[in-house]
Amino acid sequence: MTAIEDRPTTRAMLAQSSDAASRTAAREASNRVKRASRATLAWLATIVFVLPIYLAVSNTFKPRQEILDNPLGLPINPTLENLAKAWGRDDHLIQNGLLNSLLVTALTVVLIIPISSAVSFWISERTPKVKGVLLAIFALGLMIPPQVVLQPIIEILQVVHLDHSYPGLILQNVGGGLMSFAVFVYVGFLRTVPKEIIEAARVDGASEFRTWWAVVFPLVRPATATVGIFIGLWVWNDFLNPVYILGALQGQTITAGIYASLGTYSSDYGQLFGIMFLAALVPIVGYLATQREFIAGLMSGAAKG
């Protein structure tokens, strides 16, 4: 057990008791009650907070009528019909969407990691003045709302004939604000890497590329995990860029595909819940699998501010 256990807060009150034994017993009883009530409170708060998720999941497994009649309850007649309907759509929304999302996400991450870690190392080796200027330029990408650059990006992609294409979407992912994020994570992490290790590699006569690839890149693995996890999540969940850059003809990523399937004219909540369930599965499983790195990544960001 760590840090802020709350056991001694009643100390002052209890200290007045003269009987040491009864004091201990009373304190233990009081602690038990406190622990139980804290756990109850914590569970209550948690349940209220995640209620919308419970609804989405439980309604995924309910027949249509039950969703309308009894949206809150557990599925009485659990059914896989909604999932089957979502999976079996004529337009293969789920299959194509998952495949497209996987592709866009994986290629973005695979391209952005080496490029941004190399440029970060390169920046770290510059003089403080140059470094400051470069980081200031990259800081721009951290705060720029994507809506500001979206339409010009589409025109640039038109010029190079990559408009409404997957390569176009991926390239602008790699070159845009996400790269700023990656650079800041890497540069921040590189500050904690002892200079001696890098110097040692240099003394051995390794080229700058080799130093980066063989020494620095393995050292910054935790930063790479952070970059991979967060950029992967953001690209997977991205809505704006796929909708407008990919457009209508190329099929869609799963996130944009869900939006497209929200017909004005239909209210088949069952199928919609099915689609959402299948779409959300990947990020949630990914998050559960990488929970520790996920949180560590956040904190590495927090530590350098």
């Binding site: 337009d91 290629l107 391209l111 408009d163 991926i170 209508a248 929200l262 004005t264 004219y265």
Partner: protein, 432 residues
């Protein structure tokens, strides 16, 4: 040496990544068969009447007859004209566009030849913009007519459908008193359905008296802040104040509104397009439970707000303009296709050379009632405000403003502010 190796490694990685993504794109696109002929993209939209199957069937049939084309559907989300503009802005305007506002996009489209129009359509210039037709005038709708539930009218003690505005307000009061929601409104659909009562009022009261009014607006001879517009706005505020709508109407989307009116029958009247008379909305077996009357005027004169439309506009920059035009002509004049539109979407057919019986459409008594009302020679037929795609089409953004104003009436009653909001949108739209 090392440097060049590095560059080639990087180039290789990048190249293979892009190549990979390029092939997966086609694999993921769904349709893997290689086209023999011209590829055409066709922006369509789905409604309860115009289902995915309808589009697939009719596209297939037209494509076979034209030959040498392969047509890919692009499904529009929400407002079709706005979506077409979105596709245009990202440089991917499809070759064919279904039922868009050609009044706003005429510069981008191919005009149809006059001979073909004259040969095939009852009113060849019904959709003309500056004398040119970009959308074949294949059928028409009235937007809105008021549909009503006969049983609920009887329950509230209303013996005949209202004939003028006073009787209409009286019916609202009676229904309200009987615990029935007087008017159904899909208030969440800001881009269209939310504004139908307002569209009805402006068309009936203003355009009914002055059919050239929209042209006057465009020339600056009339304004949306004029007294007649304010009077129409006031009538709509009065409806909200009289409790004509469910107080939650702005949370109601189109699907829910249809359920409320047709299935669960919670509400008695529904100002809507005449597509409601199609089997896609009100099934034929229950259609006789409903009746129809025009949006009422003060003096009881009957104004029918008509919009003539069609489905196929052709992108002038299409790589295969000729094929696209051939496909569009074929699709638009196929009696079988148009028959489905009549039956499921309640369309009033306007093909010249096809007799009504030849459409082979099973229509409901409600369709017949609406059709007779719309085509009667005792009524004034005018362009429905904001619904038409011809010279009277509104500038972009005004339709949205109409919806926003209609929604705003649930929270406030400042007529001057509403009129200004419409006028602002108009001024802005004229710049667009």
């Amino acid at each position: 040496m090392k440097r060049s190796r590095l560059i080639s490694v990087a180039a290789l990685a990048l190249g293979s990544a892009l190549a990979l993504s390029a092939c997966s794109t086609t694999a993921a696109g769904g349709d893997k068969t290689e086209a023999a002929g011209a590829k055409l993209s066709f922006m369509v939209f789905e409604t309860p009447a115009l289902t995915a199957k309808f589009w697939d069937d009719t596209i297939k049939s037209a494509a076979e007859k034209v030959g040498g084309v392969e047509v890919q559907k692009v499904l529009s989300t929400g407002d079709r004209t706005a979506y077409a503009k979105q596709l245009l802005a990202s440089n991917q305007l499809p070759d064919l566009l279904a039922s868009i506002n050609t009044g706003q996009l005429a510069d981008l489209l191919v005009p149809y030849d006059e001979a073909w129009l004259k040969e095939n359509f009852l009113i060849p210039d019904a959709t003309a913009v500056d004398g040119k037709v970009y959308l074949p005038p294949v059928n028409s709708q009235a937007i809105p007519f008021v549909f009503y539930n006969k049983a609920l009218f009887a329950k509230a003690g209303i013996t005949a459908p209202p004939k003028n505005w006073a009787e209409f307000m009286d019916a609202v009061a009676k229904l309200k008193a009987a615990g029935i929601t007087p008017i159904e409104l899909a208030g969440k659909e800001a881009a269209w359905a939310a504004s139908y009562p307002l569209v009805g009022t402006i068309t009936a009261d203003i355009i009914g008296k002055d059919p050239k009014w929209v042209q006057k607006l465009k020339k600056g001879e009339a304004k949306l802040t004029d007294a007649n517009v304010k009077a129409a706005l006031q009538k709509n505020v009065d409806l909200v104040k009289a409790g004509a709508y469910d107080p939650q109407a702005l949370s109601v989307d189109f699907a829910t509104a249809n359920t409320n009116f047709v299935t669960t029958q919670k509400s008695a009247m529904y100002p809507m397009g005449t597509w409601m008379t199609g089997a896609g909305y009100i099934p034929a077996d229950v259609a006789d439970q409903f009746g129809v009357f025009p949006w009422p005027t003060d003096d009881g004169s009957v104004v029918v707000p008509i919009t003539v439309g069609g489905t196929t506009s052709v992108n002038a920059k299409s790589a295969n303009v000729d094929k696209a035009v051939a496909f569009a002509k074929q699709w638009s004049t196929d009696p079988k296709t148009q028959g489905v539109l009549v039956e499921t979407d309640g369309a009033f057919p306007m093909l010249k050379n096809v007799k009504f019986s030849e459409y082979n459409a099973k229509v409901s008594p409600l369709f017949t009632a609406a059709f007779e009302l719309a085509t009667s020679d005792k009524v004034t037929r005018v362009n429905a405000f904001g619904q038409v795609v011809n010279d009277d089409a509104l500038p972009g953004g005004v339709g949205d403003a109409l919806g926003a104003v209609a929604q705003g009436m649930f929270a406030g009653a400042d007529i001057d502010a509403f009129a200004k909001q419409l006028d602002d949108a108009w001024q802005k739209g004229m710049k667009g």
